[in-house]
Amino acid sequence: MIRIMDNENVIEIKGLRKSFAKNEVLKNINLSLKKGENLVVLGKSGQGKSVLIKCIVAMIEPDEGSIKIFDKEITTLGNDEELKNLRMRIGFLFQSGALYDSMTVRENLEFPLNRVLKIKDEKEIEERSKEVLEDVGLGDAMDKMPADLSGGMRKRMALARTLIEKPEIILYDEPTTGLDPITSKEISELILKTQKKFHSSSIIITHDMNCAKITSDRIVVMNNGEFIAEGTYTELENSNDDFTRSFFN
């Protein structure tokens, strides 16, 4: 499938470094994400992929380097309000889903609408909640509790909550981990569908090759805190590098 991408970079990372104690997790990371692009970051567990996207939303402060989102340097943002405004434009799908387990599906969806977008009109809230739930195929789950949902449904629900703010960039942290192959494929296709509908740009952290194949426009391979290869799925599948090729076997 060919998607139309702008040349405009929505994320630009230069010389990013992050260490925890003596463990250097990110080593001189350079990365850009174009508008409308789906970028997959491939790598083994514990290689710093999640740390990278947490740096992008300022959940983790990097030691060195620059992260520009929509041309704004996130590492030096002046105040909470600026950061909040930037975060409103970025959606983050956590690996665990991170659903608010004391709230119903409806309340989970209403939470960002009320508190972030400050929408008070109940009719609009209801309409947006219904629309986004139908988008992810959970139209009848509105009054269920997160505990009543299956793993796949929880991922869909988490995606619905991310999408309800209509973000321009979506960061997916291992969206298919812990799911069976059929549900994984459904979630991967949902990521594509979402990208088409919302014209969003995405970074997808994964080690699920089916997910990478379905969703990626471009893939970067991460090993020991640095990118060692970059290309399309087909290019990397035929790479000369053993480590990169080992993902495709």
């Binding site: 608010y100 939470f111 972030v116 909550r161």
Partner: protein, 258 residues
């Protein structure tokens, strides 16, 4: 040895700085627009109403036992008529506020610590933050303010029930009319007994809410840290309640009783 002391001192100072920053963030968020009135009401219900039973029962037993324990001794001196005022003064000044606060440290601080700890571990707090919502305003401000308001009210409930318990205790061994008992109880009390006691209960409430929220909010990853946050919240809040009480008694003695 010296490096151990240095690193211990560094940890203590870091912890103090961290708590000061958390408290300042709590204060700032009280006055930010968009106060969470609904959540505040829900927390008042959870912290106040749901603790009502245990606090009322403890208050009643406290008054009852205090009366039964002191009655024989005071009888020997022919001073059994002083039992109501003795019970009321000791309950209002000291036992009521401290016991209520310790019960709430066990019940409320641990539950806040566990709730926020589990939200932290399951990335729910991170998710709120990343979405652009304000978790401190929604989770911390509402819980601490609810404790601040509810602990004094629960203390009043405990005090009232202790009076009733005292009345039941005195009538279990001898006989005294309700009018006489309560008149003697209130005659023994002065404004200087009530005012400092009420003031300190606000500090107890603030401590319980703050410690519960801080421990929960700062729990590490992993399910074990949830239990640790709950446990640490109870222990820390209880110690602080005793310390605050000691300071309050000293201040009251200096400013009111001298």
């Amino acid at each position: 040895m010296a490096s151990n002391i240095r690193s211990g001192l560094k940890n203590i100072l870091e912890s103090i700085g961290d708590q000061a920053a958390f408290f300042s963030s709590f204060i700032k968020n009280i006055f930010k627009s968009g106060f969470e009135w609904n959540e505040f009401g829900r927390q008042c219900y959870t912290i106040g109403y749901r603790s009502f039973g245990i606090v009322a029962l403890t208050g009643f037993v406290l008054g009852f036992v205090l009366t039964l324990q002191s009655l024989p001794t005071l009888k020997q001196f022919g001073a059994s008529g002083f039992v109501p005022s003795m019970v009321s003064i000791s309950v209002v000044r000291e036992i009521g506020p401290v016991i209520t606060a310790l019960i709430c440290a066990g019940k409320v601080a641990s539950s806040i610590g566990a709730e926020l700890g589990s939200m932290k571990v399951t990335e729910q707090i991170d998710s709120m933050e990343v979405s652009g919502a304000n978790p401190v305003q929604y989770l911390v401000v509402t819980k601490i303010l609810a404790c601040f308001l509810m602990i004094p009210l629960l203390t009043m409930v405990a005090d009232g029930m202790a009076f009733i318990g005292g009345f039941a205790g005195i009538n279990a061994t001898s006989s005294m009319s309700a009018i006489l008992y309560f008149r003697k109880s209130f005659d023994g009390l002065d404004f200087s007994d009530l005012f400092p006691a009420v003031i300190k209960t606000f500090f107890f409430g603030l401590t319980i809410g703050f410690v519960g929220c801080y421990k929960g909010f700062n729990s590490n990853k992993g399910t074990a840290s949830v239990g640790l946050a709950a446990n640490s919240a109870v222990v820390t809040a209880s110690v602080w309640i005793i310390v605050i009480d000691a300071i309050a008694v000293q201040l009251t003695s200096m400013l009111v009783y001298n």
